[in-house]
Amino acid sequence: MHAATSQPLYRRNLVFMDPEWIERIEAYIAGDLTEAELQDFARQHQITSVEEDVEWVRDAHTAVAMAGVRKQLNSLQSSSSREAKVRKMTPWSRIMAIAAGFLLLIFFYVVYAQMDGSGTTYQAFAYEDPGIPIQMSQSPNYRLFDALTYYSEGNYEETILQLQELQMDLPENDTLHYFLGASLLYENQPVAARRAFEPVLNTDNPRFAERIQWLYVLTYLRADDPTGVQTALQPILEQEDHAFHERAQALSNALE
């Protein structure tokens, strides 16, 4: 560092910031310079915007690091896209794909229109659990009952908030997982719904087991993932006395 002089280091028009002043500020931020020493330097060089300059240097450090975090997030997102195996197609194959897609669309429209006259596949197979607030085996907490009341009122957004809050306290609670998954599905968040259902897919509570399996199928249907739908349908198709067996059979036929 240079010895302090009585000359102003720079014009105080906020455009110019002398490297030596930046160095002092960084030393202060790093704890290598006390506030009194920084103020002393500022006084000697007629710098009046100490607080503002310190704040700017802190902001600049964060901004540089933020650019790095932004890149990190971009690559996280693009790796997710790669996992989805999205391929870039040539113009000709793109035209063929669009044409094939269009034909499939017509085909499915005709199939579903014949089936029950309603619109999308999801609507055709939708099942909305009425949500009678029954507490399952691990539900000692009244807050869960509150959340289920929101659920039974159809306020799925609030239900999600309440249940997510509770999740930390009751990580193993099967009732919570079930109603959280159902609410997320009804709020059109199928991936999160699937994650909520997964820990209780093999629950030994028969009242919920069949519903969970069907709602799990619907998460794939909602996400337009026919391969996932077929896989999730298998356990239902294998049990002829399953409450959703007929629907599962109809959906499987529709997808073939």
């Binding site: 160095e23 600049a60 996280l76």
Partner: protein
């Protein structure tokens, strides 16, 4: 964070620590748990999938900047997810109003039971975002140098070696780059 690559449940404390350390598992957890909800909010309110993705990323960055700057502390009364939602919502309102000044916002977008600190957190983030944008106007050498110093935390000696200069010269160059950045920021305001 736990050692699994796809944690299904983490505490806010673990998440906070993970975000502070720029741990990919923490960021991935945020995406997996909350992106759909934010996307649903944006798409219910005149946005498309691309808007939703942008807004979520900006919300995560706003959360990170405020944690980084000590402007966000964990509380019992509100969870990280609540703040993330509030940040994304406010970023979307602001962007929507810039895009369509006369847009009518839905009631769910105007609910006011979100944390009071959100506006201050966004102000900090916007200020930092402006500096980040101005960095693009620096020459590539300066951008890389600042990145090595402040993001990768590379040792001065190593930076000097990579640049083929003395440590003193590398340090001076860094300060000159900071000076240029400050000038660019001031000129832009």
């Amino acid at each position: 964070m736990t050692s699994t690559s796809h944690p299904t449940s983490v505490t806010d404390q673990e998440l906070y620590k993970g975000i502070t350390q720029r741990d990919n598992r923490a960021f991935r957890f945020l995406y997996e748990q909350y992106q759909e909800r934010i996307a649903a909010m944006v798409q219910r309110n005149s946005g498309n999938a691309e808007d939703a993705s942008d807004i979520f990323q900006e919300g995560v960055l706003a959360l990170w900047t405020n944690i980084q700057r000590g402007r966000f502390e964990l509380k019992d009364s509100a969870r990280i997810s609540t703040y993330l939602y509030a940040l994304c919502r406010n970023i979307w309102i602001s962007r929507l109003r810039r895009r369509k000044p006369d847009v009518e916002l839905r009631d769910d977008l105007l609910e006011d039971d979100l944390p009071d600190e959100t506006d201050a957190m966004l102000e900090t983030h916007n200020r930092i975002q402006t500096i980040e944008a101005r960095m693009q106007d620096l020459n590539e050498g300066c951008r890389n140098l600042l990145k090595m110093f402040y993001h990768q935390k590379t040792a001065l000696r190593e930076i000097a070696q990579r640049l083929g200069v003395t440590e003193k010269s590398a340090k001076n160059k860094k300060y000159r780059c900071m000076q240029q950045l400050r000038s660019l920021c001031t000129a832009a305001t």
